[in-house]
Amino acid sequence: MSKTVLHCKDIVKTYGEAEAAVLALQGVTLDVYRGEMMMLVGPSGCGKTTFVSCISGLLDFDSGVCDILGKDITSMDTEEVVAFRGRHIGFVFQSFNLLPALTCVENVALPLTIANADKAQSYTKAKVLLDAVGLGEKYDSKPKHLSGGEQQRVAVARALVHEPDLIICDEPTSSLDHQTGQAVMQLLQKMKNETHITIIVVTHDNRIYKYGDRMAHMEDGKIRKVEQLG
C-alpha cells in the first residue's frame, strides 16, 4: 500500500451550541494515499467543505484524529498549523482567489514569498510553473486580464509552487465552462502523475469524476462509501 498522506478517524464537528447546534461531521473516517487523486462528492450541506477545512487546519473539530504526513494537527498550536499548512498544503479554489493587485508571476510565487524565500528563485520557479500550465506569455498580466480558465491555471501553478504534499481543490471546475474545466483537470492529473502529489477534489461536477483514482461519497456528515475509479 502507498504511503498514507492523510489519515482521518471519527472526526466530529459541531457548529453552534445547545439547541442551535448543528452536527456537521458525524465521525468521518478516511485515508488518502500518496500520489492519488481523491474525489470527495456529495450533496450540498453534507459536510464536504467542513471536512476539508478541518483537515487543512483551517477549522478546529470537536473530536477525532487527523494525521497529515504522520503529524497530528490537533497537537499543533495555531501558528504551527499555519506554518505546516504553508509548507505542506496547496489550495485551488472555485473562485480562483488570485490577488488582483499582483501579476501572474507574483501570484504564483505568493506561497514562497510568504515563506520568505529568495525572490529571484521564487520568480524563476513561478515562471517554470506558468510555462508548465501554458501561461508562459502571461507572466506580467494581472488576473483581470485573464480568462476564468487562465486564472484557474494560475491558481493551480500557485498551489504547486512550494511543492506541497497535498493539494485541496474546492470545486475547481464550477466557475469554468466544460471544456476549460476538463483542461484544468487534465492539468491537475498531469501534475499529479509527474510529481506524485496527493490531490483531494471536492466537486459536484460528475463530468470530472473520471480524473479521480478513488471517490468518497459523503452524506449527512459521514463518508458513506469509498469507491475505486477507472
Binding site: 450540498s44 477545512s53 487543512s56 499555519v82 482567489n97 505568493l110 510568504i114 470545486e171
Partner: protein
C-alpha cells in the same frame, strides 16, 4: 510582504485616494490649528517681538505676560540703571484709554508712552519723514490698527468734525491719516503717522507717543511705568544680568525669550481661546479619525478575503499585522505630506491677510503626530478585523 501590502493598498484607487484625502484632511486640520495657535501666540507677545533690540524686560513681580500688566513706580527705572552690566534702560508706559473721534464716536486704544530722548519702542511708520521728527511735534501720536479693521475711521468731511449740533455718528468716514486729530481725556492729539506693526492678540488699536505726551494725556497717577527695557553691555551674560536686576531691584527681570515663553504660558492658563484651539484640534482629530478610521477599516474589510487567502497559504498573524501597518504608515506619511503641504499653501494665502497664522516647526510635527495617532488607532481596529478572518471563507460554500 511589504511590497504586496503596498500593491494591495494602491490597487483600489478610489479607496486609496479616499484614504489619503481622509488622512490629508486630518493633517491639514491639526497643522492649521497649531499654526493658528502659534499665530495668535506670536501676536500675544507682539510687544516683545517689535522691540528686538531689548535684552531684558523689567516689570512688577506679579506680571507674567506682556498683555496683563500692573505699573511700577518711576523710581524703578533708576534702580535698574544702577545695576552693573546694564548699558542703558528706557521706560515703557502702557495704559488703556478711550479716544473720541471728531464725529463723536469713541474707541478704546492701548496707549504706549516711550522715552522722549530715544523713542525706543516706536514702530516704523508709513512716512518719508522720521518718527523722531514727527513725534516731537506737541501732542503728536502714531496710530496703529493693532490687528483690528475699520476701527480707525474719522469723518470724511470737515462739516462732520467737532460739529456744534452734536455728534454726527452716521457721517461718512475714512481712515485716519497724518494731521487728523482725536481727543483723549479732552486733550487734543494729532496723528503724526500710521504704523503697521505686529497685530495684537486680542486685536486692539494702538497709540504710540512720547512719555511727556503720555503723561499729559493720563490723569495723574503714582505708578505709571509698565516696563523697563534694558540693553546690556556687550560681552555680559544675559541671564546673569537679569538675575542681578531681580536681586538688586526686587523686580522681575526676564530676557526677551523668557518673557515670550511666560506670555505663552500665561495665555495657555488664562486665555479661553486656547480652549477653543484645543477643541479645534480635538474636533480635527475626531473628524479625521472618522474619515480615516472608517476608510481604513472598510479597506481591510474589503480585503479580508485576500488576508484569508494569505493565511491559508501560511501567512502568520504577525505577517498580516505587518501588512496592515505597512498600509497604515504608507498612507499616513503620504497623506500627512499632502495635508501639511496644502496647509502651507493655504497658510501663505491667509497669512497675507490679518489672520493669525504662523507655521512653526511644531505645527507640522503635531499634524504628523495627530495623523499617526489616528492612523495607528484605525490600524489597530482594522487589525482586529483580521482576528475574524477565517481561511475557510475562501471555500465555495
Amino acid at each position: 510582504m511589504f511590497t504586496i501590502a503596498v500593491k494591495i493598498l494602491i490597487e483600489d484607487r478610489v479607496k486609496y485616494i479616499g484614504l489619503l484625502i481622509g488622512i490629508a484632511f486630518t493633517a491639514f486640520l491639526v497643522t492649521f490649528a497649531m499654526s493658528y495657535f502659534a499665530g495668535f501666540m506670536t501676536r500675544g507677545f507682539a510687544l516683545v517681538s517689535e522691540n528686538p533690540s531689548v535684552d531684558i524686560w523689567v516689570m512688577d513681580r506679579a506680571v507674567s505676560s506682556s498683555e496683563a500688566t500692573i505699573n511700577m513706580s518711576d523710581a524703578a527705572l533708576n534702580l535698574v540703571k544702577s545695576v552693573q552690566g546694564v548699558e542703558n534702560a528706557v521706560p515703557l508706559y502702557m495704559q488703556d484709554m478711550t479716544a473720541r473721534f471728531p464725529n463723536g464716536h469713541f474707541q478704546a486704544f492701548q496707549v504706549i508712552g516711550v522715552d522722549d530722548a530715544t523713542l525706543s519702542g516706536i514702530p516704523k511708520i508709513k512716512s518719508t519723514r522720521d518718527a523722531s521728527e514727527l513725534l516731537h511735534i506737541p501732542g503728536s501720536v502714531i496710530v496703529d490698527s493693532g490687528g483690528t479693521s475699520d476701527k480707525l475711521q474719522t469723518p470724511k468731511y470737515m462739516k462732520d468734525s467737532y460739529p456744534f449740533d452734536g455728534p454726527h455718528l452716521n457721517a461718512a468716514t475714512r481712515k485716519l491719516r497724518f494731521g487728523d486729530t482725536l481727543l483723549i481725556n479732552d486733550k487734543r492729539i494729532v496723528v503724526a503717522g500710521v504704523s503697521q506693526t505686529i497685530p495684537r492678540f486680542p486685536p486692539r488699536p494702538l497709540i504710540y507717543t512720547t512719555l511727556s505726551n503720555f503723561k499729559r494725556l493720563t490723569p495723574s497717577q503714582v505708578k505709571r511705568l509698565t516696563f523697563v527695557m534694558v540693553k546690556i553691555k556687550s560681552g555680559s551674560n544675559l541671564h546673569l544680568i537679569a538675575q542681578k536686576i531681580q536681586k538688586q531691584t526686587g523686580l522681575k527681570a526676564l530676557t526677551s525669550d523668557d518673557f515670550k515663553k511666560q506670555t505663552v504660558m500665561w495665555y495657555l492658563v488664562n486665555s479661553e481661546d486656547v480652549g477653543d484651539m484645543v477643541n479645534m484640534v480635538v474636533l480635527a482629530m475626531l473628524v479625521g479619525f472618522g474619515v480615516t478610521g472608517v476608510m481604513l477599516y472598510m479597506f481591510t474589510q474589503d480585503n479580508l478575503k485576500y488576508y484569508a487567502l494569505l493565511k491559508a497559504m501560511g501567512a502568520s498573524s504577525k505577517q498580516l499585522r505587518v501588512m496592515i501597518f505597512t498600509q497604515v504608515f504608507m498612507s499616513a506619511l503620504i497623506g500627512s505630506g499632502i495635508g501639511i503641504g496644502v496647509c502651507t499653501l493655504v497658510g501663505k494665502l491667509v497669512a497675507n491677510g490679518d489672520f493669525p497664522y504662523r507655521m512653526m516647526w511644531f505645527s507640522p510635527l503635531f499634524g504628523l503626530i495627530g495623523v499617526l495617532i489616528v492612523s495607528i488607532t484605525a490600524g489597530l481596529i482594522s487589525q482586529h478585523a483580521l482576528k475574524n478572518v477565517e481561511a475557510e471563507m475562501l471555500f465555495a460554500s
